[in-house]
Amino acid sequence: MKKYNLLFLLLFAVAATLPAQTEKGSIHIKNATVITITKGVLENTDVVVTDGKITGIGKSLKTPKGARVVDAAGQFVMPGIIDAHSHIALDAVNEGTNIVTAEVETGDVIDPLDVAIYRALAGGVTATHAMHGSANAIGGQCETIKLRYGTYDPEELKMEGAPRTIKFALGENPMRVHGEGSGLHARTRMGIEQVFRRAFSEARDYMAAQEDYNKKMASDPQAVPPMYDRRMEALADILRGDIIIHCHSYRADEILMLMNVCKDFGVTKLVYQHVNEGFKVAPELAEFGAMASVFADWWAYKFEVYYSTAYNAAILTRNGVVTSINSDSGDYIRHLYHQAGKTQRYGMLTDNEALRLITLNPAIQLGIEDRVGSLEKGKDGDITIFSAHPLSVYAIPQMTIVDGVVRFDIKEDNDDMRLSVDPEDTETMMLDYDDDHRCMEGTAEELFKY
C-alpha cells in the first residue's frame, strides 16, 4: 500500500512539473472577408485551423477531421485582438511596498475566474499582457496570457514560450506612492532616474560577483557563492536582454531620460506604455527602436497628460515607431477595435495601419509576433469574427477563437458567464466596477479613496 502511495506521489510530482496542457481545437471558417494584416484583405476566403494552428487560408478549403464549420459569409475575420496593457485576470496588481520590486511576478496571481476575461473575449480579444501596476519605478514582472476562459487552472492561461516582460513606471504614480505617500525617495523625476541607475548598477555588481564565483569554482570547489537575490536576478536578466521593459510613462522628458539610462547600460528592449507625450519625441523613439503602446484618446485626467493629443498614435506611426493601442481597463479592453478606429478620426490612418495597432504591433511589443498578430499559415488559431468591418462603429464581435477553440460565440452567450459564483456576493449594483483592473489598483492612495 505504501509503495502505491509513493508511486502516486511520484506521478503527481512529474505531472506538476509538466507545462499545462492547453486545449487546442480545429475550425473551418468559410466564405468570409479575411483581414490578414500582413497579406492584404481577401474576399470570399476560408480560414482553417487544425489542432490550434492555422493550416490554410484560401478558397474552398477542405475541412479537417472533427473540425467545427462556421459559415461566415458577409462577416469579417481578423486576427485575435491583443492588448499590450491590461490588469484583468489578476488577483493583485501592485506590490507597492518598495520603489523596486523586480522580484514579484503577476504570473503568481493569475485569476482564471475573472469574468472580465469573458467580457474581453466578447470584444474580440484573445491575448493580453497581464501587467503589474505603476506604483513602483521598477515594478513586478508581467505575464502574457491567452484568454482561455473556461479553465480553472491559472497555468493554462499563460502563453507558453512568451518572452518575459517587466513593468517600469515614471512620473506621478511612483512619485505619489513613494515620495508623497511614504516620504521616501523618489519624489521628483530627478529621483526616479536615480532609482534606475542605482538598480542597474547594483545588478551589474551582482553579475560581476557571480562571474567571479563561476571563475573561482573552476579551481576552487570550496569557493563561496554570492548571496542569491531574486530581485537582482530579475534586474540582471534585464541587462542581459532576457526581459522586455514595458514602461508606464507620460512626459517627453522622462521618456528621453529612460532611453538615456538604457543606452548607458546597454539595454535595448524597451516599450513605453501610455506615453502620452511620445508624439513629442517620436524621432528619438524611432531612432532608439523603442516602441509605444498608447491610449486612443485619454488625456487631462492628471497633469502629466494635460498636454496630450488624440493624434498621438498617428504621429508615432508616421514617424516609424511601432505603436499599439491598449486598454488598461476592464471596460476599454472590450472595444479596442473601436479605439483603433479613433486613429482614423484623429490622424486618418489607413484601415490596415489602424488594425495593426491592436494586432501585429502589440504582438511585436510582447515578442510574440511569430505566433500571433496576423492571419498566416503556421500561426496560432487566434481569430475574431465581426458582423461588419471591425473599424465600423456598428461592428459587433460574433465569435472569438483561441488556439482553434471557440471561447466566445454570440449565439451561445448567456446572461451569467461567471465560472464561479461567490455565495456571499450580494450582487449589489456597482457603478465604478471599472475601478478594478487599473494601474494604481492596490496602492494606499486608491484604498483611501473611499
Partner: protein, 435 residues
C-alpha cells in the same frame, strides 16, 4: 531672500505658461451670414433634405431650394457633405473640471450635502482647454453639472462658445439630486448591506424633510408678500428649492440601481415633481415601470461595464435601446469631462446594440431639446432655430468620418483644439533628431 526666490519662481511660471499657451490658444470665431451650398441636410425632425442651408444672425433662416441669400453671405460648398444639428450632451463636467486628479481645478463638487443654491454656471470656465476639443467633434451644447451630496447644486445648459458663462448659457437650468441609494459605491465600499440600507433610509428622510420645510418656507414667503410684518430668516437652501418643490422647475434625479429607480419613481409621483431620471444604468431591468411613469431618462455612459458580474457583457451598450423599446423617452449622455467628444460614439454603440441609428441620433439632438423645453431652439435643423450645426464627410457616428466645420449660435468655429494644434506642430517635428 525668500521673497526674491518667489519672484523668480513666479516669473519662470509665467514664462512657462506663456510658452505653452501661445501654441495652444485656438483662433477667433467669426459671425455673419453663411450659405452652406449643395449639402445633404439631416434635419432630424423633417427628414433628409438636399440643398442649401442659410445662417444669418445666429439662426437658421433658410433650408432647401428657395433660399434668398444676402450678398454678404460667405458661401461654403458642401457638395458630397452632410449637415447635422449640433449634438447635445445632457450630463458632463465640462468647464467645471480641468484636471480631475488636481482638486484645485475641480469646481464641480462643493462641500455640503444639500446645496441647491450652488450655480454650476458661476464656475464654468469659458477658457477650459477641453471646450474646443469637444466642440470640433460636433458636440455643441452640454449640461455642466455639479456633483456630490444629496442635492449637488444647479446644473446649466451651455453652448460651447463664449467669453463668459452668461454668454455660454443656453436656456436650461435644473437642480441635480442624487437619489438615496442602497447600492455599493464600488468594490471597496466596505459598508454592510444593513448599513447601506440604514444610510438610504436616513437620506430619504432628509429629502422628505427638505420638501416639507420648503413647502412651509414657501407659504411663509407668500404670506410675507401681503403682510410686511412677517419676518423670514435668510435661507438660501429652501429659497432655491421652492420652484422645484412646487413642480415648476425640472429636477435631474441621478439614480442607477434597479430598486433605487423604483423608489425614485414612486417618490417623484407622490410629490408631483417634474423630473428627469439620469444615469439609469439598470434601467433595462425596470424599463416597463419607467415607461409607465412617463418620466424621461438621460442615460450614459453607454460605453461602460455592466453593473453586475452576472450581467450579460453588452448590458450597458443595450440599456438605452431596451428602455426605448419599452416606450421610455431616452436621451444619451457621456457623464464625462475631457472626452465629451465621444458622445456620438456612445450613441453609436446604443444604435448598434438595439436602439437603431435614427433613435440614437435623436437621443443626442431633438430628444434632449424637448426634455428641456428647448425644442423651438435646439436639436434639429429647422428655419428659426439657433444655428448649432456641423458639416461632415460621412456618418458622424463612424470614427472614420471627419467633422469639417462646426457652427455654434451662428458662429463659424475655428476647427482647432489643443489636440489638432499639437498634431500640426509635431507630425513632422522640426528640428528633428539630426539637426
Amino acid at each position: 531672500m525668500r521673497f526674491n526666490k518667489n519672484i523668480i519662481l513666479y516669473c519662470l511660471v509665467c514664462l512657462f505658461m506663456a510658452g505653452q499657451l501661445s501654441a495652444q490658444v485656438v483662433g477667433k470665431a467669426t459671425k455673419g451670414a453663411f450659405l452652406l451650398k449643395n449639402a445633404t441636410i439631416e434635419t432630424i425632425t423633417k427628414g433628409t433634405v438636399k440643398g442649401d442651408l442659410l445662417i444669418e444672425d445666429g439662426k437658421i433662416t433658410g433650408i432647401g431650394g428657395a433660399v434668398t441669400v444676402p450678398a454678404s453671405a460667405k458661401v461654403i460648398d458642401c457638395s458630397g457633405k452632410t449637415i447635422y444639428p449640433g449634438f447635445i450632451d445632457m450630463g458632463t463636467s465640462l468647464g467645471l473640471v480641468e484636471v480631475s486628479s488636481i482638486s484645485v481645478t475641480n469646481d464641480n463638487n462643493e462641500i455640503g450635502d444639500i446645496k441647491p443654491y450652488l450655480e454650476a454656471l458661476t464656475a464654468v470656465n469659458p477658457s477650459s482647454v477641453a471646450i474646443p476639443v469637444t466642440r470640433v467633434s460636433g458636440v455643441t451644447t452640454v449640461i455642466a453639472q455639479p456633483s456630490g451630496g444629496l442635492i449637488a447644486g444647479t446644473a446649466s445648459l451651455i453652448n460651447l462658445i463664449g467669453y463668459s458663462p452668461d454668454e455660454m448659457y443656453a436656456g436650461f437650468k435644473a437642480i441635480r439630486l442624487n437619489f438615496p441609494s442602497s447600492g455599493a459605491r464600488g468594490r471597496r465600499d466596505r459598508r454592510s448591506p444593513e448599513d447601506r440600507k440604514k444610510n438610504e433610509a436616513k437620506k430619504l428622510k432628509q429629502l422628505n424633510d427638505l420638501w416639507e420645510e420648503t413647502k412651509l418656507f414657501a407659504k411663509i414667503k407668500e404670506a410675507k408678500g401681503s403682510d410686511a410684518s412677517i419676518r423670514q430668516e435668510y435661507n438660501p437652501t429652501l429659497d432655491a428649492m421652492i420652484s422645484t418643490v412646487k413642480g415648476e422647475q425640472m429636477v435631474l434625479v441621478e439614480v442607477n440601481a434597479e430598486n433605487d429607480i423604483l423608489s425614485a419613481l414612486k417618490w417623484i409621483k407622490d410629490n408631483e415633481i417634474k423630473a428627469i431620471l439620469t444615469g439609469c444604468a439598470e434601467g433595462w431591468r425596470v424599463a416597463d415601470e419607467i415607461a409607465a411613469s412617463g418620466v424621461p431618462v438621460v442615460t450614459g455612459p453607454v460605453i461602460s461595464i455592466p453593473t453586475r458580474g452576472s450581467d450579460r457583457y453588452d448590458r450597458a451598450y443595450a440599456n438605452a435601446g431596451a428602455m426605448k423599446k419599452a416606450g421610455v423617452t431616452v436621451a444619451i449622455r457621456t457623464d464625462q469631462t475631457e472626452n465629451v467628444r465621444d458622445l456620438p460614439f456612445h450613441a453609436a454603440f446604443a444604435a448598434a446594440y438595439g436602439m437603431g441609428r435614427e433613435a440614437a441620433l435623436e437621443a443626442i439632438t431633438i430628444v434632449p431639446a424637448r426634455m428641456m423645453g428647448l425644442e423651438m431652439e435646439l436639436g434639429s435643423l429647422e428655419v428659426g432655430k439657433i444655428a448649432n450645426l456641423f458639416i461632415c464627410d460621412g456618418d458622424p457616428f463612424e470614427t472614420k468620418t471627419q467633422i469639417e466645420q462646426v457652427f455654434i449660435q451662428g458662429w463659424e468655429i475655428p476647427m482647432d483644439s489643443r489636440h489638432s494644434l499639437l498634431y500640426d506642430e509635431f507630425l513632422d517635428r522640426s528640428p528633428g533628431v539630426k539637426n
